[in-house]
Structure formats: structure tokens, C-alpha cells
Symmetry: C2
Subunit: 421 residues, 2 copies
């Protein structure tokens, strides 16, 4: 393809299952992320089924509007897999049998102790002029076709076949189409609202014409996806993203808990390990989610000692030694009970930290004084306790999540203050 | 639009954020589900950004290939919202100011104590000939345009605006395009593999030419999505789906845990409530997920007494009375320890049922004798105990999930055998 200034890219996902309510194309998100790293943007995405006329029509229209067409799926051995044939037909090119390709497919079956079913033979046909993209994780080879005016890429649908194929075979080829060098960071933040973050950093945007910031807000977590472009080289891009990251960190400070992709439960785990501390939890309204998140991290058994889900008042008293009088006087959802729970589980488990949650996750159980979303999170350590009153918005699941986020963040901030944190 | 036999439908999602790696159109899944209920299938889906030329081109091509075009997004007040303008331009129809519409938008702002920003005025323009689709949850009205040859529908992007708009305004209008009457069921199954289910029910398909079965397999759960069509009327469709459901239930029996959308944790909760029983859990490898799932159900505090996450051997001994000798002799991952944990938590919590999990969730910690994925799930009740040895495939998260699924299912099957279960 001749080099043009403004390349239009279309991603086309092929498969009738993608036109049902049950399945969704996710491959295009991965491809978009990788293309963006080259400074290339996607202009159109199309989803079409296996029906021949529909497929041919979509290919014709894609060829009329895009310079690079990336089609995904429909390279399998069944009669419904006709992406290869449809592109050949629209491009008026022959499908040519490739003996080497057949051998590779046969060998793949042989290695697993099977002989190749005859239907797979069609996967050894290539569009005239195309190059093979090797598939290390399946039988369907991919295909790269560079015509005078277009680049056409065909990928198999399964993500574990597509991703390595893109990375090993296509990524190097696309370097010559690279428009920019890019560097990326994801800053994960908790403890600040989206609008507060906006206020703190909005004046940084105009200073950075080569940067793009995308802010994604989730309950309890904000992410800033940062991309910096350089037309010169990769080092330049890395250099300027480091500068920009430093500026943003200077404004948002310890509210940023991760710049490397780590989740909050990983950060807390890493800090606990670093400081040779461990943790036990008493959960009421979070119902086990706090413990579930922490134990999703491999190796967490090194620092998670135990967790108790104590829903009933009796369980709070019997297991954690929270006095029945205290519950009677202040209610189970109170700063006093939260603190007693954290201290109680810490003592019981003989852990460095005790964490607790108690609140009203809803949808029922709220009162004007103690509405749905009122959650106390508390922490106990060797020389003190701390408790926070939170008022979360959302449904039962997001209130549970925000409560765990807050509890984890209390431990993180406490550990950060230690020498070496 | 004139009635045709084979209507082609295209769903077009508009918005530059949908061409980034971060956002995905999910509205089309909802619309597809509802259209399928009318016997209408979607042929194409397109995703395009806010750029005028791209948008116009996609609209032109959609009009060339589809009879019904449903566009989503780009109806807001900003200068990037140009779906309305682009359709008007391609259709060569004027945008006509609608005073009534403006009043409604102004009133919406007034009710919230604001005055309408002037940018919102453009939302009061309608494509000539179109009908308004009222938006009860936002300012952007939708639009229905029936030309001689096409039906065009414009929806706002936020799902909480689109869904009620579709249901209240579009669903009744689409009745006249209805090709079939449909009835749907989702059968959720645990305890059988996909291939076993296939063997048990495959002979039922050919008997039912008007039915469509889609099987979705998740770790620990298989779902059969069942749709039955009738060209006559709704009653006929309901009647035949009941018959087919009965046949499938006759084959798969109590392995089907839900036909009404309920999740396994809801079914278990309902059965516990019905039989006035309650539950306590001792979790090792599931790390709180079992408790998290059960407590996601509102009102679960009625039957979930308490849960303990006991990762360390000491915590198992100290909290649950599992003897150190037993752990020494058989290892923490053993049927003996699982059973002792279930009995221990039941005794401690004085609950009707005690449930436990102990296993190797990975990725590390496996040995040839006790590989990653080996999980014991045990249950204790007033007159006995039961334990199952499982070997699950997958990563840490799916092994945790499958373990909770198995544990919940043990309680479910036990409760089903009780009178009235």
C-alpha cells in the first residue's frame, strides 16, 4: 500500500454469534490498544454474520471506506467459515493451495495423536499474493495482504490465537506504518472525586499538546489513562510521559495508588509483605468481599491470616468480643462497633492489622438516621485505631465494593507512612 | 415502510469513545434480545465516531443495505453530538424546531432547580416527518422516522435512557413488524458437563423445528437459552416452550437449578428460608467468595449466620477445633480436614448447615499428589457430613468460583430432598 497521511482503519468481526444477545467482540479492544500505541486510530468497526451476501457486502463497503481492513473470525474449517473465500471473491483473487501450510496443519494434529480431518484442508488455501501469519495456538493461519491501495489482515477469532499472532507477526510489519511513538501509563486513584481530580490537574493539559488523558470513573476508583505521542522516537515519548506522570503525581500525591497496573489489593499485599506485617478482617456489610479480593492475589496466604464475616450481633459479640451493651447503645452500624470489631479481630488473630466494615448495603434496612450506603470502616494496629464514616451511593454490590476499597486504602495509607513505605 | 418478507436490521452505535480500547457498546445486546423476541434478527452492527464525514458515510452505507436502522448515541447537547444532523443531511430532510419539545426539556431542568443551558436548544429539533420518542430519564428525545422504504430510529446512548424508551415507545410500534411470537427460558445447570448435557438432550432438537437452543458454558455453570417461535400467537409459543422445558427437565432433572433467572446463591437462599434453616461457612481456598456470593442477595442476613476465612493451619485449629494431628496426618487439603472444618463451623455458629472449602487455587502450591485445582468441599448438618473431592481446571479465580458453586450446590441438593423442597 502506498503511504498516505490519513489512514482509515476498519475492524470487522465476523460471526453470527456476535449478532446474538450473548456474545460480544472483545478482540477489537485489544487491537485498538495496540494500534493506538503506533499512533494509529480506528475509524470504523463492523460486526457481520456468516451469511455470504451480508459478508460480501460488508467487505465491499469496508474496502470503499478504509485503507487498512482487519477482519476477525470465520477462518475455521466449517462451512460457515467463509471470510477467506469472501475476501478472495470481492478482491477477485484466486485461492491458492499451499502445500507447506497443509503440512503444518497436519503436523499440529499429529503432535496431539490425531490425523487431520479432511475439512481442515481448506485452511491451507491462501488468497493469491497474501503472506501467511503463523498461528502457534490453533490450526487457522492468519493472512496479510498488501495490495496497491489497501492492507488486508485476516485473524482467527479466539483471543488466545489472535493476540500472539498480532504481537509476533503483525506488530513488526506495522512499524513502517507507525505515525507516532507512544508511551502509556494508567494512574489508579482512590480517595478523590472525579471533579476534584479535574480541578487539581486541568491546567496541565494545555501544557502538553502531545498527550491524551482519558479519565474513567468507577465507584471507589478513578483511572487516568495517559498517552504521550512523539513524532521523533520512543525515548522522547518515554521521557515526556515520565515528566507528565511526575507532574500529576505532584498534584494528586498519595491518592494515586498505582501507576503499573496493580490493583489496590495487590498494592496492599505488596506493602504488607515489604513491612513484614499481616492482616485479619471482621466483615459485616462487605460479607466476605474484602477477604475475597485480598485472597485473589497469589501468595496472599503469607499475609492474610483470617477473616470473619459476622452478620449477626450475636456473632459480633461471641466471636470478636464486641460487648452487647456497646451494640445496644450505639447500634451495630456505628463508629464504636466498627472500632471494636477491628480491635477484636486483631486480638483474636494476633495480626499486625485488624480491619472491619459495618454498614447498610441495602436495598432495605435504611432509616433517615442511618440510610442505605452508611458504612463505617475501621482499622486497628499495635498502637491505635482509626475509623471512617462513609456515605456511599449505588446499589448493594457497588456499596460493598466501595466499602472494601476504603478499608484497603486505610491500610495502604498507614503503611505508606512507615519508613521505606 | 412497506412490509417485506426479509427485513434487514442494522444497529449503529455512534461515539468516538466506542473506538477506544476502554468502552464497548452494550446497548445493542439489549436491543437484539428484544428484537429477537419479535422474531426479528440483526444483520449488521456498526460502530463509528463523531467525525462528520465518517458518520455520514456510515449512514449512507447503512441506508443502502438495511431496512431498519437503529442508531444509538450522539443526541446530546454538545457540538460532538451530530447524529440527528447527519441523518437529516443524508436523508435530505430539514431539521424542524419543535416548541413543545423545547418546553419539555426546559421543564426537566426547571424541576431540578436549574435553567436550561442554551446548548440544549438543539435537542428540540426534529427531522422532518419524524415522531418524538419521549425520554423520561434524560433531555435527549429519541426519534422514529418511517419513510417509504426505511424505518429509522435514533436513541440516546445512556442505557438507563435507551431501555425504557425502547420498551415504552418503540416496542408497541414494532408489533406490526412482528414476524413471530416468541417465548424464552434460561435453564441454569450445575453438576453436568456440556457434552453430557448434549448427549442427554440432543435427540430433542429435531422434534422441535420452531425452537432454538443456545448453550453457554461457564466454569461451574452451563446455561441453555431456549427460544420457541410461533407464527400464530403468544399462547402457542408459551405452550410449546412449557412442553419443551418439561422434556428437558425430565432429562436433566435436579441438575437444573433455575429456570427463572435466579442465580445459585439465590436458589440456596430461597430454599434455606423455606425450610427455616441457616448456614455458616469455613472457607480456605475460596477466601471469602462463598460468603460474598451469598451476602450479595438482599435479606441474606436472615440465613447467613457467619463465615470464617481460615487460611493458616493455626486458624483452622484455633477457630474451628480442627485437630493439629489431623492436619499433620492428612494435610490441610484433605477430605478429613474439609469435613472437620464443616463440622467445626457448624458447631461454633450453632447453624443448621456448616459448609467448608479447602484446596489449591494456584497458580503456585501444587504437587503431583495434590495438583492446582484439587479442592475438597464439605457439608455438615444435624445428622451427618458429606465431602466431595473435586479437580477443577482454570485459573485462580475460576477455581475459586467453581469451588463455591460446588459447595452451594451441596446444600441445594440436600434441601431439595426435604419434604416440600
Amino acid at each position: 500500500m502506498k503511504r498516505k497521511k490519513d489512514l482509515k482503519i476498519e475492524i470487522m468481526a465476523v460471526g453470527s454469534e456476535l449478532l446474538t444477545p450473548y456474545f460480544q467482540d472483545t478482540n477489537s479492544l485489544y487491537l485498538t490498544e495496540r494500534l493506538n500505541e503506533l499512533g494509529m486510530e480506528v475509524s470504523y468497526k463492523t460486526i457481520v454474520g456468516d451469511e455470504w451476501d451480508d459478508l460480501v457486502l460488508c467487505i465491499q463497503q469496508a474496502l470503499s471506506r478504509a485503507d487498512i481492513i482487519i477482519a476477525i473470525g470465520g477462518l475455521g474449517p466449517t462451512k460457515d467459515d467463509r471470510t477467506r473465500e469472501a475476501f478472495a471473491s470481492v478482491l477477485e483473487r484466486k485461492l491458492i493451495f499451499n502445500q507447506k501450510l497443509l503440512q503444518k496443519i497436519e503436523e499440529r494434529f499429529k503432535r496431539r495423536g490425531h490425523s487431520m480431518p479432511s475439512v481442515n484442508k481448506k485452511q491451507a488455501y491462501l488468497i493469491d499474493g497474501a503472506e501467511v501469519l503463523e498461528n502457534k495456538n490453533g490450526t487457522a493461519p492468519g493472512l496479510w495482504l498488501d495490495t496497491d491501495s489497501k492492507v488486508i489482515l485476516l485473524f482467527p477469532g479466539p483471543p488466545h490465537e489472535l493476540k500472539p499472532m498480532f504481537d509476533s507477526s503483525v506488530w513488526p510489519k506495522l512499524q513502517s506504518y507507525r505515525k507516532k511513538h507512544t508511551a502509556r501509563r494508567v494512574l489508579k486513584i482512590t480517595g478523590l472525586t472525579e471533579s476534584k481530580i479535574e480541578t487539581l490537574i486541568s491546567d496541565l493539559y494545555p501544557q502538553e499538546p502531545h498527550a491524551r488523558l482519558t479519565t474513567l470513573a468507577y465507584p471507589g476508583q478513578i483511572e487516568i489513562h495517559l498517552t504521550v505521542f512523539s513524532e521523533k522516537n520512543q525515548e522522547r515519548a518515554e521521557e515526556s510521559i515520565c515528566k507528565l506522570e511526575k507532574k500529576i503525581l505532584g498534584r494528586l500525591k498519595e491518592n494515586v495508588f498505582s501507576t503499573t497496573g496493580e490493583e489496590l489489593e495487590e498494592v496492599v499485599g505488596r506493602l504488607l509483605r515489604l513491612h513484614k506485617k499481616n492482616l485479619a478482617m471482621a466483615e459485616s456489610c462487605t460479607g466476605g468481599l474484602l477477604s475475597h479480593r485480598l485472597t485473589n492475589i497469589p501468595g496472599s496466604s503469607d499475609y492474610v491470616l483470617q477473616s470473619m464475616v459476622v452478620y449477626s450481633n450475636e456473632a459480633k459479640t461471641y466471636n470478636l468480643g464486641v460487648s452487647a451493651d456497646l451494640i445496644e447503645q450505639h447500634g451495630a452500624v456505628s463508629s464504636q462497633v466498627a472500632t471494636a470489631m477491628a480491635a477484636g479481630i486483631r486480638e483474636k488473630a494476633r495480626s499486625s492489622y485488624g480491619l472491619s466494615t459495618t454498614g447498610i448495603a441495602g436495598p432495605a434496612g435504611g432509616t433517615p438516621e442511618k440510610p442505605v450506603g452508611l458504612v463505617y470502616t475501621a482499622m486497628a494496629w499495635d498502637s491505635g485505631t482509626d475509623v471512617v464514616k462513609n456515605l456511599f451511593l449505588g446499589n448493594r454490590e457497588t456499596i460493598k465494593f466501595q466499602s472494601t476499597q476504603k478499608a484497603l486504602d486505610m491500610v495502604r495509607r498507614h503503611l505508606l507512612k512507615k519508613p521505606g513505605g
